[in-house]
């Protein structure tokens, strides 16, 4: 599997966020996107996920432009955003079950177990703490498996124990042939990592 980006540029409200970003990612690799606040990390992730249109450039999955054939990229990735995408009135299990049905997968019990959520699985997410919500959101990666993980600040509001736990999940995912694009300020100390520093890229041009 491979994900390639060629010459991506992004303009938001008449402001150039970044230009001419290219990278290439293969199975078993992680791309770590660094940059100051406002450098365009989240925008780049949203572009990869297809939620935002780049002003120029293209994304290729398995060598094919995803714009020409959106079906090939569909359901090949999971996107974890800042917002938790959880319904406060539903319990953790119900939220996860909904997403796994929606994406046509079924791995909820394992997901609860991996992220140590079993004890709070039947609590409405509305009364969970920020860290518990984050873990429930991250558990979606296991509940709805996909080869590419697109992760926007995945470890914010997690304590050291759960950061380590998440890191193990990420390492296992990548060892099993998965890949991940990661935007975070925290160094997760992974090997097999590629760096993309948006601040440095800006300096180049």
């Amino acid at each position: 599997m491979s994900l390639n980006a060629r010459h991506l540029s992004c303009i938001r409200q008449d402001r150039l966020i970044f230009k001419n970003i290219s990278f290439s990612l293969n199975s078993g690799e992680v791309l770590w996107i660094k940059g100051k606040n406002g450098a365009g990390k989240s925008s780049l992730l949203r572009i990869i996920a297809g939620l935002l249109k780049p002003i120029q450039g293209e994304i290729l999955w398995q060598g094919e432009n995803v714009k020409d054939d959106p079906d090939i990229f569909q359901n090949q990735f999971r996107y974890i955003a800042h917002q938790d995408a959880l319904k406060p009135a539903l319990t953790g299990t119900e939220n996860l079950r909904f997403w796994s049905q929606y994406f046509g997968t079924d791995n909820v019990p394992a997901a609860l177990k991996e992220f140590e959520l079993e004890r709070i699985a039947d609590v409405p997410t509305g009364i969970m703490s920020a860290g518990q919500k984050k873990r429930t959101n991250l558990a979606r990666l296991i509940a709805c498996p996909a080869p590419l993980w697109i992760l926007d600040e995945p470890v914010s509001s997690l304590d050291t124990h759960y950061i380590a736990l998440f890191r193990n999940q990420l390492v296992r995912h990548v060892k099993n042939g998965g890949m991940a694009v990661l935007a975070t300020h925290q160094d997760l100390e992974l090997d097999f990592i590629q760096m993309l520093d948006l601040d440095a890229e800006r300096g180049k041009s």
């Binding site: 935002l52 955003a81 009135a89 539903l90 909904f98 929606y102 046509g104």
Partner: protein, 221 residues
């Protein structure tokens, strides 16, 4: 199809658990309709004369109350992004949201209409036609409403703008909906009006999800 029904099920589950959609639209409908006899006076013949219009306008306005939440809640908590990444086409996803809105916010209004119609002294022949007309015509309310909801999704206080966008588009349904009931009361053929209402519904069923999906694409960009 699994995705469609899982989304439909979730939205209904949320509406039942939060309860606000049902109770808000229903109580608004009941209160708005019962205000008319107080304002117009208890003259039974006048009430019977205006009852089809009052019920239809009441239903249109009650439906508006929950329209702005159709996509807003999902937009605010990040669910909308995820919903757009599913494997079913966006138009079908939108259709699931629309169906859930109709079932939770509009259908309960139809159930309570016979009682309100009696309280407005609507003749018996009219009540059956009223229910039929609502069943056939009210999907248009959710379908057209979805376009407005999608266009105003990122806006603060988009509710007022939504009403301005959507209410003029409800006029055809209102006209034929009221005409169907009046025809029934006057013992004239009701069929043509009901067919026109069905036609509006079918047309909206095809066109509105396309437009609403386009609006949502703009909203997340």
């Amino acid at each position: 199809m699994g995705s469609f029904f899982s989304l439909l099920k979730r939205d209904i589950q949320l509406a039942v658990r939060q309860g606000s959609a049902f109770t808000m639209t229903l109580s608004f409908f009941v209160i708005a309709v019962t205000l008319f006899p107080l304002g117009v006076g208890p003259e039974l013949s006048i009430l019977a004369r205006i009852s089809p219009g009052v019920l239809w306008v009441g239903a249109l306005l009650a439906c508006l109350l929950t329209l702005d939440r159709m996509f807003q809640a999902d937009f605010e908590d990040g669910s909308l992004d995820q919903l757009m990444l599913g494997s079913m086409p966006l138009e079908i996803m939108v259709l699931a949201k629309i169906s859930a809105h109709w079932l939770t916010s509009v259908f309960p209004l139809i159930l309570i209409t016979p009682i309100l119609a009696l309280s407005l002294n609507m003749p018996g022949e009219g009540i059956g036609a009223m229910i039929l007309a609502l069943l056939l015509g009210s999907p248009v309310l959710s379908l057209i409403g979805a376009i407005g909801a999608a266009l105003t999704v990122g806006m603060r206080r988009g509710g007022v703008l939504l009403s301005l966008l959507v209410l003029p588009l409800y006029i055809p349904v209102l006209i034929f909906g009221v005409a169907a009931v009046e025809a029934a009361i006057a013992v004239l053929p009701v069929g043509p009006h009901l067919l026109l209402l069905s036609g509006l519904s079918l047309g909206a069923l095809v066109l509105c999800p396309l437009a609403a999906a386009a609006g949502l694409r703009l909203a997340v960009d």
